[in-house]
Structures are given as C-alpha cells and as structure tokens.
C-alpha cells in the first residue's frame, strides 16, 4: 500500500510548492494519474495559477493559508506552536528547512516531504520498523496533520472553483490523508 501512495505524495508536495503554471501543470498531471482521474479538458493553467495564488499565496488576504499554524491554534498567525513542532520533527529526521525561519516550517509542501522521509525510513525497515520512527510517523499524521489538514481542506473546498484543478488536487489530498490516517491509527496511543 505504501509504495502505491508515494508518487502521489511527491506530486502533492510539488503542487503545493509550485511557483508558476508550469509547476502546477506538471504536478497536477502526476496527481491525476496516480489517482486515476482526468484533468478537466480545456484547463487553462494560467487560470489555475491565478486561483492557486488567490487561495494560498497572495498578494491579497488568503482564505486558505497552507501552513499548520494558521489552523492548529486559536488564531491565524504563522510561526506558532505547530511551526516549532514541524521544525523539531525535521530535526529529528536530521533535516531542516533551508534558511530556517524565512518560510514557516509548517508549510504543507515541507510537511509532505517530511512524511515522504518518514515513510521511506519505515519502508526500508519493513521487517522491523523502529518504534520511535513509527511513533513519530503516527504522531505526525494523527496529531499534527490531523489538527490542521481537515479544516484547511474544507476551506479550499468552499473557495475553489468546483470541478477545477485545485478542487481535484484537494480531493486527492483528502483521499490520501484519509488512507494515511487509517494506516497509522493502530500505532497511535489509545
């Protein structure tokens, strides 16, 4: 199961890390492939770019900031407790966001990549996963992501064009997360 999800997570990561229409198209096509869905015909990728920026980037106020802190706590400010959690998680994996502090560590793209690393480590230990990594994985999905991804995705659903690429990607994200949650449920402390 975990191997089948991998391309999807990378593509999701690349989608949310996109800076232009080209990046978005590249990632969206891969996401669509991995979930067996079609990109809506006649999709204008510049229009997708406009929507992506309107929802996630700016310059106007963004209805769906893709950062854990904006959703995990009682306010929308970034660089909150969730950012520290994400940063500590990366450090435990021997990783860090370049220029730590310049872009909040809890951006969805970084978190998805950390997940890739976690799953990769666990995959190589297939026969005997070390308890610590497994627990970290379970916590990251069941506590950290669980706190913010659902409300974030809900906001995107409400704001994104129905049937558009962003909506499609969000559904893929939701499906993947659901699956991930279920597969780590067993490892979460009761």
């Amino acid at each position: 199961m975990s191997e089948q999800c991998m391309p999807s997570i990378e593509a999701l990561r690349d989608f949310f890390a996109a800076t232009d229409a080209g990046d978005l198209e590249d990632a969206a096509v891969r996401i669509a492939e991995s979930v067996g869905v079609e990109i809506p015909p006649h999709t204008d990728w510049t229009t997708v770019e406009y929507e992506f920026n309107r929802l996630f980037v700016g310059p106007a106020a963004v209805p769906a900031p893709p950062f854990a802190s904006a959703w995990s706590e009682s306010d929308r400010a970034l660089m909150g407790r969730a950012t520290s959690e994400a940063r500590q998680t990366y450090h435990r994996l021997g990783l860090a966001v370049p220029g730590e502090g310049v872009i909040p560590d809890d951006h969805l793209a970084y978190e998805l990549e950390a997940l890739l690393v976690l799953k990769s480590v666990l995959a190589t230990e297939a026969g005997a996963p070390d308890a610590e990594t497994a627990a970290l994985h379970a916590w990251f999905v069941g506590e950290h992501l669980e706190r913010w991804l659902p409300p974030f995705m809900q906001a995107v659903r409400e704001q994104a064009t129905e049937g558009g690429v962003v909506a499609l990607v969000t559904e893929a994200l939701a499906a993947w997360f659901d699956n991930e949650r279920n597969s780590t449920a067993a490892l979460r402390p009761a």
Binding site: G58, P59, I103
Partner: protein, 750 residues
C-alpha cells in the same frame, strides 16, 4: 508568564494569569503555593534580545525591545531606558508580531495580469526588476528624459535608510516627485514665519507647566506616552484645557473642554489675545526685547477683535474665553500643544499663527514647561546617505525653480541646471491628470497607500487609469496594490537595520535586524540595489545606486560626529544598550531667544509671510464655507495609523468595523437610529457605514475615523474628502496642505 508556547493568544494569557493568582486569595494552613509555570518561568536569557524602533508617523517613535527565540519574534515590549517610552508601547505597537506573522502578508514579487483583475502571478525578483527596468528605459528613450516616472512616498516608514527610495529615484535620473505633506505643512510654515523654525520643547518638560492647552490634538489616542507628563502636570496643580470639535478621551481628562466650531480656532485665539491685552497681562519684557511688530498686532486686535466676536464665531461663551485667557496669561509657565488636526483647514496656517501669538505675548516662548508645541526636526541631523544619490551622467530633467521636496527634504538644493519635476502630493490625482510634456506614465509607490490616504478617491481612480505601469512596495494588499501592476514585498521593522528619531521627543534609537527577512521580502534599499543591478545589466550606467549593499553598513553610514556629540555617544553601537536622549542645553525651544526669522526675533509682523501672499500679522482668516448640511471630520483612530494596524487580527477584536458618529438630535431629524446603515454623500462621492449616536460629537457634524480595515472591506473616507488646499505649506514643505477637516457632507438612512 510561560513562553513555551509562542501561539498563546491574548485571551489565553489573561485566563492563565487569573488562575495563577487565585491561590493567594485563600487563607492557607497546610498547602503551599505551587505554580505550574515555575518550571518554565520567564528568563531573559532564553531569548535573543534586539533593539527596534517603531518607524511609524507618530509623535512617540517608541524604543522597542524584541524577544526572539528560535528565530521567531515571541513578543515585544517598550524599552525602559527611554523615559519617554518608559517600558510601554501602545495598542498598535503590541500587535506588531501579528503583522510579521500574518498569513496575509505579501510574500513574493507578483504581477497582475490586467490591472484590477485580481489575477496575480508570482515572478522572481529578477523578472520583476526586468519588467520595471525595461519600462524605465522605454520612457527614457521615448520621452528623452525620465520625467514620466513618478514617485509618491510619504510616512509609511520613517527608518532613516528608507530615504533610499528617493535616493533610488535620483540614481535613475530626474524624475517626477510628489512633494509636500498632507500632515502638518500649514503649521510648519506658520511657525517658520513666527519664529524661524518649527521647534518645540522637550515634551517631557510638560510636567513643569502650570497651564496646558491641548488645541486640536488627542494624545490619549495619538501620543499615549505624552499623557503621563500631562497627568503629572495636573497632579502638580496645573489646569488642563482641551479644545477639540470632538469630546475625545483626552478631553475626558481635562479640567475644561471647549468644543468650538471647527476652523474658528484663529478667532478664538485672537479673542483670548484681545482680553489679555485689555487686562494688561502682556509680557512686556518679552515683546519689547524679543519680538517684532507687537504694537501693530495690538492695534489690529483693538480695531478688529472682541471677545464677543470670538464667542460668536467659535460658539465658546465669552465669559469662558475671558476666564481661560486670564488663567493662561497668569500661569507661569503656560503651554499650548498645537495639534495637526487644528491646521487641516483652508485657514490652518493663519490659525496656528494666532495661537503662536498667544503663547508669545504671554512670554511663554523659550520657557521650560512653556512654548507653542507643534513638532521639531532637531534630532534629524543624520547624513541621509541613503537619500543622497547622483543622477547618471547626461541625465535630462525639468528646467525651472523648485522648492523643497517636503518637510524632511534635507538635501541642500540642486546645483545642476536640471531638477526633478514636482507635483503637489496633496493633489496627486489632479497632478497625474494634468501632467504633460511628458505625461506621467509610470508610478512607484512606497511607504504610502494613495487610495486610502490621498484625497478624492474617485478622481484618483481616473488618474491611475492613465498610468502605464504602477509599482507598489507593500506589506499588505491595500487598494493601491489592487490598482497596481507589480507588487514588491517589503520588510517589516524587525527585518532590516535602520535608525529612528522622533519629531516630538529627543531620543535616538537603533533598529536592529531581529529576524531574517521572511519569504522573499527585501528592504527598500535592497530593492533599490536590485533595480540598479538590472538597470545596469540592460543599459550600463543607467543607474548609480550601489548594487551591492549591506543594510547594516548603510545604517552606520547615516551617523556623523554631529549626531554623536548631540547624543553624547561614542559610536552607534552604544545604542545596542538602548535608546539615548539628546544632550539638551535646555528643554525649552528658543531658550536663547535667537529666533530663525529675518529679524532674529519673534515676528508678530512677518514681512516674509506677507511676501508669500499671506498677512504679515496673525489676522483672522475665515474658514471654508460649508457646501453641504454637515461638517465632515475624519480624524485618527487609536487602533491604527492610517493604513496600518487596523487590518490585523488583534485589532479586529476591538475594532471590528467602521462607524459614523453622529449627534442624536441630528439623527432624530433624519429618522436615523443607532446602528442603522446610512449613506454619507457629497460632491466627491459616497460611502455606506453603520451609525453610532453619541453626544461626543458636536451637532451638525459627522465624524468617521480614517482607517483601512483590509480583507475586502471597502470603507474609505477618501470617497468624501476633496483636495481643497490649506493656506500655507508651500514655503517649507514644497506644497500647501489640505483642508482635510474643511469638508462637508449629508447623510441618510438606507
């Protein structure tokens, strides 16, 4: 207070405190106090502490201590070393971290495909600079000069190195500049005519005053740190008089509140002057030794002014005018704080001259605890290294005389035969529409939000339609950004090195870079360096701004021996220990009685003033005639500073939406009830807003606090304010001011 969670909201913080305090209320026999916070008690050494300074257009220019942990600003507080800041900020200042870490912050350079379309794409800095540079070069080629490129910038960021924006313009060539100031120009000219400079006492000496008149200022909201000096003066026995068209929070602390007809202040001051003259309470020593033209002023008063006349125009009862005049004249020392609101009228300069005269004739000029307080620029003698840049060789510009570019124009004037073309910043829309040979084709906007702060918004929209390219440098998506083609993300005070002084107090503070610039933000001088790189790549020699800069290095370049001596420091790094106060010979302005006027004396009669088209004496000048049923006032709110702060989440908790404040008697006549939605309209435009009824505002007046709420809220008082000029301002600031409070409108329920 626990700092383990940086996301502790204010409400949680308060809740935590009350629980912790509960145990101390009970008489305990067996249990001892235990604090869950003991293990994580606050310790300064857990934090990196930086020094910052609030660079806003505010009297108080607070010295800030910034607490950073893990590269994140956890919280800030006022510096204790400054007796003025005294460890506290204001409601706006405390919200600064909400600004840095707002998810709505502009993060990247972006371009809008089709102005106002709302369709934005990210671009790299390189691409942004490329687009901008090519446009500049196109202008240069087609017009033969760069007068088609304009800059509008004002007071959004007073960190000294931000004058690098003007420097950037100069480094490109001769360009069009919007000069002047919407803020305080009429009063500046008035004080220059009377005394030869705008120079106020150290506000900290107000404790020595025996009589304090706050005339058209609201420090309880707009200069909170000065309030403690006023309250101390009061505690020592001084009487405090507040004169304001609105019953403000400052007025609530006063002994006497006068609510005169707006713009009648000149008449009121002259009425008081006449009474003081009649009672023989003039300080003859002062007027004989240190003034020019008092006898002519006295004659003018006798022939033209009576207390009854002043009472009729102002609405203040004659016996009160007499009483306060006598008290003012006998108190020693007595002082008047002349607020900027008071001079935002067609007769603003004339009114300030009358109030200055009141202070002078009672011998209060040059006294500690006395003085006609307005502002000063004594501590602003830095190098302006960032500002002063040279035009490239062979630059062609405007030919003709130009005045100063604004009140902060510290350049010594142009020796070259060419100069920048200057337009009045207070008539920005008209300036853009009228510009020709060449037309204004491109605009750079920095430290300013024209759509919210310039006058006659409907006209501004039309003006922007004529511009080919608009570049905004911003932190948040203002209406100006919505009307731009390119937006460049700029740093906050925590992300740049600069130095700050105040136009009110006498402290100097360093602003250290506390955190790395977030996302792809750059400071204004870094942006200038980027532009220079690209310009010279495309056309070598087209921009002289240095391409490789270190903002810390540029901070250092602003200091000189004069500043070191004035502040008694050896080196700017001394400021890392906290802000430092100027070594003042006296806390009083003009203590040596050497005025900067042509005569070297206080000039009741100023021939220079007459030369410039005004009256030589501080004569009464009528205010603007009403052109609609209600007077419209749009003063400043405590929750924001123009377009800044009101859009932040913490501010929205206290200040969710705008209101129109109206007197209940007027509302009754219009069949308007509290919290109704109303339409305010006049010849400029209209806006819809909820109304709140209150007797704090005068009858027949409509009061709205100018602010930008952000998040799509289109409340904008500039839909109702036109660009009618104030009388003075051209002399010292390059353009006349605006009659911001000389506006009128009507209202109806919707």
């Amino acid at each position: 207070m626990s700092h383990t969670s940086s996301s502790l909201s204010r409400r949680q913080f308060l809740k935590g405190l009350s629980v912790a305090g509960a145990a101390s209320l009970l008489p305990l026999r067996l249990l001892m106090p235990y604090s869950a916070q003991a293990a994580t008690a606050f310790s300064e050494k857990d934090f990196q502490i930086f020094r910052n300074a609030c660079p806003r257009n505010c009297y108080d220019t607070c010295s800030i201590k910034t607490y950073v942990k893990d590269g994140i600003v956890q919280f800030i507080e006022g510096a204790q070393e400054s007796t003025f800041t005294a460890g506290g900020l204001c409601v706006k200042g405390y919200a600064y971290p909400r600004r840095v870490y707002s998810p709505d912050r502009i993060k990247y350079p972006m371009v809008q495909d089709g102005r106002r379309s709302g369709n934005w794409r990210r671009v790299s800095w390189d691409e942004a600079m490329d687009r901008i540079s090519r446009k500049i070069l196109e202008l240069k080629e087609q017009d033969g000069n760069l007068l088609g490129l304009g800059l509008t910038k004002y007071s959004g960021n007073f960190g000294i190195t931000n004058y690098g924006v003007e420097g950037m313009m100069s480094s490109l060539g001769y360009t069009t500049r919007f000069v002047g100031t919407p803020c305080w120009p009429a009063g500046i000219d008035a004080q220059n005519y009377d005394m030869g400079d705008m120079w106020c006492n150290d506000p900290e000496d107000m404790v020595k005053s025996r009589y304090v008149i706050i005339w058209g200022a609201n420090p309880a909201w707009c200069s909170v740190h000065t309030m403690k000096y006023i309250m101390e003066a009061k505690r020592r026995g001084a009487k405090v008089v507040v004169i304001d068209p609105v019953f403000t929070q400052t007025a609530a602390k006063a002994d006497v509140f006068w609510q005169p007809e707006a713009s009648s202040d000149g008449a009121l001051a002259l009425g008081m002057a006449r009474h003081i003259l009649d009672l023989g309470m003039v300080d003859q020593d002062f007027v004989n030794a240190n003034a020019l033209g008092f006898e002519e002023f006295a004659a003018y008063l006798r022939e033209n002014v009576t207390v009854e006349w002043a009472a009729g125009l102002s609405g203040i009862p004659a016996e009160q005018i007499r009483e306060v005049a006598e008290e003012f004249a006998t108190a020693d020392p007595a002082t008047i704080w002349i607020g900027y609101g008071m001079q935002r009228h067609t007769n603003g300069g004339a009114s300030v001259r009358s109030v200055d005269a009141l202070v002078a004739m009672t011998g209060n000029v040059g006294k500690e605890g006395g003085g006609a307080r307005y502002g000063h620029l004594r501590t602003w003698g830095v190098n302006y290294h960032a500002l002063i840049q040279k035009q490239p060789e062979g630059s062609v510009g405007f030919i003709g005389a130009t005045g100063p570019k604004g009140e902060f124009d510290f350049t010594k004037g142009e020796a070259a035969s060419y100069s920048d073309r200057t337009f009045n910043i207070n008539k920005t829309a008209q300036g853009i529409l009228d510009a020709k040979d060449p037309a204004l084709r491109m605009l750079w906007v920095s430290c300013k939000n024209p759509f919210a702060q310039d006058f006659d918004r409907p006209k501004l929209e039309k003006a922007f339609d004529t511009l080919e390219m608009v570049v905004s440098v911003e932190q948040f998506f203002t209406e100006t950004v919505a009307n731009s083609d390119i937006v460049l993300p700029v740093t906050t005070l925590f992300e740049e090195w600069t130095v700050n002084v105040s136009y009110w107090h006498y402290w100097l503070g360093i602003n250290e870079q506390a955190i790395k610039p977030m996302y792809e933000t750059k400071s204004n001088i870094e942006i200038a360096a980027e532009l220079s790189k690209k310009m010279n790549e495309l056309a070598p020699g087209s921009c002289t701004f240095p391409q490789d800069i270190d903002t810390k290095d540029w901070l250092e370049k602003e200091f000189n021996q004069g500043i070191y001596d004035y502040f008694g420091i050896k080196h700017w790094t001394d400021l890392k220990n906290g802000p430092v106060k100027a070594k003042l010979a006296s806390t009083a302005a003009w203590h040596d009685m050497t005025f900067g006027t042509p005569s070297g004396k206080y000039e009741f009669r100023s021939d220079l003033c007459a030369e410039h088209g005004h009256e030589a004496l501080p004569k009464y000048k009528e205010g603007r005639k009403p052109y609609d049923e209600f007077r419209l006032l749009t003063p400043h709110t405590q929750f924001g500073l123009h377009s800044q702060f009101v859009n932040l989440d913490w501010m929205h908790e206290y200040n969710k939406e705008p209101f129109l404040y109206m007197h209940p008697d007027d509302a009754r006549e219009k069949n308007i009830r509290d919290l109704d939605m109303v339409r305010v309209f006049n010849k400029v435009g209209e806006l819809r807003v909820k109304v709140k009824l209150t007797r704090n505002v005068a009858p027949k007046s409509l009061v709205m606090y100018e602010a930008w709420f952000g998040r799509g809220n289109d409340f904008n008082v500039q839909n109702l304010v036109d660009d009618e000029a104030a009388d003075m301002g051209a002399y010292k600031t390059g353009a006349p001011g605006v009659a911001i409070h000389g506006q009128f409108a009507n209202v109806e329920r919707v």
